[in-house]
């Protein structure tokens, strides 16, 4: 009696699904995904580019114009200003005309670092609508 019961017990244990091959497979998939996973997140600033047909309108609009020269000099209102002064200038001009956008005119050889600094300062000055254009 006891013997028979034991035999049936062994049978029941053997009918369970063998998980080992599935585990092997899942682990392989896991390793593959861990290896190929890329965790890159770039922070950035958004600027607009003028489309060719709206460029002339931008030029003579009442927006604020900031020029960046090849050597990194920044010109606002026909005056050469420091990067740190851009924010104050933008704040002053946006107080006069709150809807104004900013047009950044960079010379082609102007360094991108200066451009990003100016965009940052304009953002800090409270204007998000920035258009970026280049000149010869």
């Amino acid at each position: 009696m006891r013997k028979r019961r034991r035999a049936s017990g062994v049978d029941a244990e053997q009918t369970g699904i063998d998980l080992a091959p599935m585990l092997d497979f899942v682990t392989n998939l896991l390793i593959f995904f861990i290896i190929t996973a890329v965790f890159v997140k770039e922070a950035g600033l958004e600027v607009n580019r003028p489309t060719s047909f709206e460029q002339p309108q931008e030029e003579d609009s009442k927006g604020i114009q900031i020029q960046i020269l090849e050597n990194g000099e920044i010109w606002v209102d026909n005056r050469s200003v420091d990067v740190r002064a851009v924010r104050a200038n933008v704040e002053r001009m946006s107080a006069v005309n709150p809807d104004a956008g900013v047009l950044i005119l960079a010379q082609e050889k102007a360094p991108t670092g200066t451009l990003v600094e100016v965009v940052d300062q304009v953002h800090l000055g409270g204007i998000q609508n920035i258009t970026f254009s280049t000149t010869q």
Binding site: L23, F33, A37, K41, A43, G44, E108, P111, T112, G113
Partner: protein, 135 residues
Amino acid sequence: MQSRRHAPETEETGIDLAPMLDFTTNLLIFFIITTSFIKEAGTVVTKPTAETAFGRETGNLMIAIRENGDIWMDRRRVDLRDVRPMMERLHIERPDDTVVIIADKASDAGVVAEVMDEVRLSGIQIMSIAADPAS
């Protein structure tokens, strides 16, 4: 008698794989979900810093512009004229993609402008210029 008592014990000492399998499957699902289709630029540039830089969740196509004006995307150097067809192909595959332009501090603004134009002509409207958030 003794052997009979031993037999069931050895069968019960086998490790139960089920919890491990649960755990592994969860990890697997996590990694599958977080696998985004990021196209890395494949080169290292010195990024400018900006206080107002913010991260966009979907910025996943990266174009790097090096100091000397070289354009890198998808881990290889490309010509300016190749940017548009490559972007058009990627835009058709995944229309939600946005572009991050990683320009070197000392690179020319003209090259950045040209790359932005090419990207926009390919149909991707949302793009940003990468900057390190200043601490």
